[in-house]
Amino acid sequence: MDIKKFNEDQILDLNKILKIIIPPDKIKGLPGADEIKFIEFIEKFHPYFIEELSKELIAIQSSAERKYSRKIVDLNEAELFSFLSELKSANDSLLNDLTLLVYECYYQHQSVLEILKMTARAPFPEGHKVMKGDLKLLDPVIKKGRIYMEV
């Protein structure tokens, strides 16, 4: 597959958009989505999306210039949030697809999972501990007796 990479301007635009989608949480120390190597993630797992995203970034840029007479990188966060929200409400399906991929990348990123105290490793081979649960809670069910229909 011929993967078209992003140019430097597009990377700047994309990072700005990613930070709007998931901003950093300074209190918890969570990174923004611009800090999670998103491009590497889609190159590895969703390479088909790169060309579509590249086209979308061009379209978003043109739209921003028409509306604000400025480039995406020159918009402040409130302006960009409002602008992207408008696009999203207008059913910009690629923006929705982008959001879903950002979420997918973010919630598998080592640093995010570690800060959130989630399993930041492959499930195998360590697995997880789960409490067995109290089977005495079934006493009322047993007391009630048979409920299946005999034929």
Binding site: I22, E104, Q108, L116, K129, L135, M149
Partner: protein, 535 residues
């Protein structure tokens, strides 16, 4: 063209095939199984990797139309309210199933007599009872004896851990006075039969790296292949079954791993490709003797397709339940609404299947789609509201046979060998919709009683076609069914069908244990009547 002959040829290496071959191998005859997929390598399952959630959604996606492995075939689902979920490989659908393993109940076999709908099975729960028990031992099934919603049965292993979430939802059910019970589960809770016990990897439904989930590659096939006369060939896709002028199956034409067209002759042919694959092969097996497809003189091949109409209700709790940990599809179930109560406005009933909370990516993505986990500054708080704090109740409704719900052959779509692909036409009936709505409401009530603070319902879930049944059904009347009470084709006496396609009705439980019990039962009929069965 290569030619060969065996005593018994089995098409497909999934749940039913594995059980039947295990049983038939005691005959000491030559048994060959042809499987279109590969052996699975547990080192390649998603749970070996940090990015397991992405890998699960791609190479291990439940939909063959998304997964698109070379070993898959496409399915046209444009005219269906439910999308098919399956897997092609040694183990079949059990590679991706959750191992939720409840048996069908006695009433499930007599719905016509009891409720005046569907058809009665020509066999009963009692017929299958010893085969259920044998299969539980063979597979390694965990559970708790004494469930008052099913005839009493022993289980070889204690139940899997239900966790805090199991206690919380159990208290909710108790508050309502409803039935609930730890699910019978085809996951080994203790070391068993040379396999190591479950360590709660969580994503069972993308393959078990531990080998604790009883997919039939680990539970059956390794043992089957140690028996004399049993052979399994992978990457062999059957195109059609051949018949002679005496209406006897002669063998099959298949494509081998190199794409070479081969013929395999056999004394007995057994089809085990489940509710979509089986009618596909039969309909593709047209000849001058069977112009409408093999074993289709009744016209019933591909008709009466049943899934289980499916709903999903997610409850979010304030406290951390660690609900995302543990075998994903199995925890506890409620059969409070399983049997018919006409006051509910529909016939038959459903299971409330309590499953674990979702992993982080699903929490975020599903939450985004319904507006609960948004962009921007609210994002982090919203996400953490749900993670590890959700209990999900799935509503598994009994589907009744409808002649208009079908598997046919698509006139244009083909697999990589040029074999016509199946087309699914399926709509929920009015009865199913009423049942589903009732189930969604009762699940909401249960979650409320358990203390959920936020509840979200969703159904009919489109991506829920795990259970494919009814398309070559069993019956005593050759005009109204495809196989007899022994799984033997009415039209072709040395052809047997042993998978979910022979189901007469669907019950309201995951079908694998019943499919395997049927496979053991049918293979017993073949064994015990081998000298007279063709007369």
């Amino acid at each position: 063209m290569k030619e060969d002959i065996v005593d018994i040829l089995v098409i497909g290496a999934g749940a039913s095939s594995a059980a039947a071959v295990s049983n038939l191998s005691s005959l000491g005859v030559n048994i060959l199984c042809l499987e279109q997929g590969d052996w699975m390598n547990t080192n390649e399952y998603p749970s070996n990797f940090k990015n397991w959630q992405t890998i699960r959604d791609q190479q291990f996606n439940q939909s063959p139309n998304i997964r698109k492995r070379e070993t898959d075939y496409p399915i046209n689902e444009e005219d269906s309210e439910i999308e098919v979920a399956n897997f092609n490989g040694v183990g079949g659908g059990t590679i991706l199933y959750s191992g939720h393993f409840p048996r069908m109940k006695p009433s499930d076999f007599s719905v016509k007599s009891l409720d005046g709908v569907g058809e009665d099975w020509p066999i009963s729960y009692t017929t299958l009872e010893p085969y259920f028990a044998q299969n539980d031992i063979n597979m390694g099934v965990s559970g708790l004896k004494g469930d008052p919603a099913i005839p009493e049965h022993e289980l070889p292993l204690p139940p899997i851990a239900m966790g805090r979430m199991g206690e919380v939802i159990g208290r909710g059910f108790n508050k309502l006075g409803w039935h609930w019970w730890p699910s019978d589960t085809a996951i080994i809770s203790e070391d068993y039969d040379g396999r190591a016990k479950c360590i709660n990897l969580s994503p069972c439904n993308s393959g078990c790296s531990q080998g604790a989930k009883s997919s039939v590659d680990v539970a059956y096939w390794h043992k089957n292949l140690r028996k004399r006369g049993v052979e399994l060939k992978t990457r062999c896709r059957v195109r059609e079954i051949l018949v002679d002028e005496k209406d006897r199956a002669k063998g099959v034409i298949y494509y081998d791993e190199n794409g070479v067209e081969c013929r395999q002759f056999a004394e007995i042919v057994i089809i085990a490709c489940n509710g979509i694959g089986t009618p596909r092969i039969l309909l593709n097996s047209k000849s001058k003797y069977f112009p409408d497809g093999l074993s289709n003189r009744s016209g019933m091949v591909g008709k009466n397709l049943m899934f289980h109409p499916w709903g999903r209700v997610e409850g979010t709790f304030e406290e951390m339940l660690d609900s995302h940990l543990g075998p994903q599809g199995s925890c506890v179930l409620s059969h409070e609404f399983y049997e018919t109560d006409q006051q509910r406005g529909f016939l038959r009933g459903y299971t409330l299947q309590v499953v674990r909370g979702q992993p982080p990516v699903n929490i975020a993505k599903w939450g985004y789609k319904r507006g609960a986990v948004p962009w921007g500054t609210q994002h982090h708080e919203s996400f953490q509201k749900y993670y590890g704090k959700q209990i999900q109740i799935e509503v598994c409704c009994e589907d009744l046979p409808e002649i208009s719900n079908t598997v046919t052959l698509d006139p244009n779509l083909k697999d990589c060998h040029g074999i016509p692909a199946p087309k699914i036409t399926y709509q929920l009936s009015d009865n199913s919709r009423k049942m589903l709505n009732h189930g969604l409401e009762q699940a909401r009530i249960a979650l409320e009683a358990a203390g959920a603070k936020e509840i979200f319902s969703h159904g009919q879930v489109r991506e829920s076609g795990w259970h494919n049944m009814g398309t070559a059904r069993m019956g005593l009347d050759p005009d109204n069914s495809v196989v007899n009470e022994w799984g033997q084709s009415h039209d072709v006496k040395n052809l047997f069908i042993i998978d979910g396609s022979v189901f007469v009705t669907s019950g309201a439980v995951n079908p694998t244990t019943t499919i395997q019990a049927l496979a053991l039962y049918i293979s017993d009929q073949i064994k015990n009547n081998i000298t007279t069965i063709f007369s």
